[in-house]
């Protein structure tokens, strides 16, 4: 496609053409209207002037007969050079008075109004002028002609015709020039955008569209696109982190599994040793299955899919039930687990998921909430505000530094960098995903000392579930 062809095919240019047509038509109509009215006005004035002359002459004729009329016509002919025309002739066509040269007899033969060319007395060399005249036949065969030069009218028509031509020409030229200018400007910016998009598509995600600072629609488009690119970049980074983590978290147990199998093959003697090795291998594979299950569940929760049994759930009952489930375990570990969840707080949700999340939080509190020489103190409580149900799991352990808290809710993030303690690093990520699925939030707070994990869920009457179609890319599950 040639550059011109490209230009002509732009939307901007086509729009300019359309406007051009509209404005050209409009200006033609307006000028035609003006011309018609001006013509009519001038014709009316001519007639009025001629009428006045005739009235005056008729008066004179009535008073003094033909003699008086001749005198008056003669007088007026000499006085008025302003375009009034007079001619008084006998029946034979001999001029008695007037400022017109003889005109064709036929023009005087009958009474009536007509347009004729004329020449004034003593203007032989000049081309005839146009005029509107009226002819009267007087008693005795005299002919009286009264008229008015119409050159003024003709001149005005010419001026208007001229204006029409010029304005049409100007409209067309300016319109075309404007169209070309706008189209080229648009084309230039779009070409720049397309070019940048191509490099981005080619894999350079760091590219951004230029923002000129004029805050026009292109700038806004560029800003929105850039924001989208930033988000995609973030997601890609998150995805990469997650896949790196998956690789790490699944490869580590896979390696251990393989090592154990190899070691058993090499060194195991006797049924007992074989049995022990096999049991370890199975335990490793179970750990991996757990990671898979948790990842799948998070993915389902984030895509809004895992809402199987949505119904009214009593958050306080869930808190009590989970606390009761874990109380013997806490006791066995020398920790205390107290529960403060009176009454009943209805939320709309999936009891399984909420229960699992609270269980995860309690397990976390039991696992990480104890410092050395100090047994864990875990409290599970449920309370209600006007709009939300809050299930709080708090411990008195070392807690999580404020700057690490959002990160703690991302997938696979384990703040214990050695990864020596049990756990997949998915518990809080799952909790956050489930909270979002229910239209609620998970926040980590300082329990001074210790950690308070607060699961807020909208109460039944206020519940707005995350729309199912917000299928998210696997985002880094940071609190947003």
């Amino acid at each position: 496609m040639t550059a011109l062809g490209k230009l002509l095919r732009t939307t901007a240019f086509r729009l300019a053409l359309a406007y051009l047509l509209v404005f050209a038509t409009l200006s033609t109509v307006v000028l035609a209207y003006v011309a018609w009215h001006a013509n009519a006005l001038i014709a009316g004035q001519l007639n009025a002037t001629v009428d006045a002359e005739i009235t005056g002459l008729a008066e004179q004729y009535r008073q003094g007969g033909i003699r008086k009329l001749v005198a008056v016509v003669d007088e007026r002919s000499n006085r008025s050079s302003q375009g009034s025309l007079y001619l008084l002739t006998t029946f034979q066509g001999d001029v008695l008075a007037g400022n017109l040269q003889a005109i064709p007899g036929a023009s005087l033969a009958e009474a009536g109004e007509r347009e004729i060319p004329y020449q004034r007395v003593g203007e032989n060399e000049v081309a005839p002028y146009p005029a509107v005249v009226r002819v009267f036949v007087l008693p005795g065969g005299y002919r009286l002609l009264v008229g008015r030069d119409t050159e003024e009218r003709e001149r005005l028509s010419a001026v208007i015709a001229n204006a029409v031509q010029w304005s049409l020409g100007l409209v067309v030229v300016l319109g075309l020039a404007g169209g070309v200018f706008v189209a080229r400007r648009v084309l230039k910016r779009l070409d720049a955008m397309t070019e940048t998009s191509r490099t981005i598509m080619a894999g350079d995600l760091s590219g951004r569209l230029a923002v000129t600072g004029s805050d026009d629609e292109f700038d806004r488009l560029a800003q929105a696109t850039n924001a989208m690119l930033d988000r995609i970049n973030e997601l890609m980074a998150g995805l990469k982190e997650v896949s790196d983590n998956i690789a790490h978290d699944l490869k580590t147990p896979l390696t251990r599994l393989r090592n154990r199998a190899e070691a058993a093959l090499r060194t195991a003697h006797g049924d007992d040793e074989w049995q022990a090795a096999m049991e370890q291998i199975i335990a490793e594979s179970e750990g991996m299955i757990r990671i898979f299950d948790a990842l799948l569940l998070i993915a389902r929760a984030e895509s809004g899919g895992a809402r199987g049994q949505i119904g009214e759930v009593d958050a306080a009952e869930v808190a009590r039930g989970v606390a009761e489930l874990y109380e013997p375990l806490a006791e066995e570990r020398g920790a205390s687990l107290t529960v403060d969840a009176p009454g009943s707080i209805r939320v709309l949700g999936n009891r399984e998921l909420i229960g699992q999340v609270v269980a995860n939080l309690v397990e976390n509190a039991l696992n990480y909430g104890a410092s050395e020489g100090r047994p864990g103190e875990v409290t599970v409580s449920a309370s209600a505000s006007e709009t939300d149900a809050r299930i709080v799991v708090a411990d008195r352990g070392p807690g999580i530094p404020a700057q690490d808290r959002p990160r703690a809710m991302e997938r696979f993030v384990r703040l214990d960098t050695s990864r020596s303690r049990p756990g997949s690093g998915l518990g809080l990520a799952l909790a956050a995903a489930v909270a979002r699925l229910h239209g609620g939030t998970l926040t980590l707070e300082d329990n001074a000392p210790g950690l308070r994990a607060v699961l807020s869920l909208p109460r039944a009457a206020h519940a707005v579930l995350a729309p199912a179609e917000t299928a998210k890319l696997p985002a880094p599950a940071a609190a947003e």
Partner: protein
Amino acid sequence: MTNAMKLLIVEDDREAAAYVVKAMTEAGHVADHAADGLDGYALAMQSNYDVLVVDRMLPKLDGLSLIGRLRAEGLKTPVLILSALGQVDDRVQGLRAGGDDYLTKPYAFAELLARVEALSRRGGPAAAETVYRIADLELDRLSHTVTRGGQDIPLQPREFRLLEYLMRNAGQVVTRTMLLENVWDYHFDPQTNVIDVHVSRLRSKIDKGFDKQLLHTVRGAGYMIRDGAR
């Protein structure tokens, strides 16, 4: 052990199916195999099986539709659904479609065996009894009392339900997840040994101070309550 069961495994992965059939045979049961949904349907309608094990994703006729057809024909045989899909939603779907239990892949065979055996006893004589007895341990479901050797054993409500479930399945392995599902009504897989702690608490109440141990740990599988002398 228990009476031999007759099972139908509807599973398109031949290796997995062969493994299950072999392991079931070793456990003393008889297992048939169907490789797709239509075969499974034909076999299930012809023979009298105790339990059907149906994979969700099957060629020709998927698992849920197969179960739907069987139920529409009035077949009441208990069905356990196997699935590689996720947990929450899919289990609900599976149970709504007429399944009786749901197990996600990959699973431990001990888990499958325990669940299949539990299904085969569902609605059996134990369900109707009001008093369960194992040796000198007695649980009265109406008065909510437990005695051993005539001696009252006070139990918390949850401990009572735990013992009740174990005794209903006396002589059978009951897995940890089965306990969590049936006693606490949760279906997740706890990462800690919560269930073990509950069971050992219960054990200390019913077995401590008695010569004969009734509540046994089955390694790699779960728990079983039985009269050791039998």
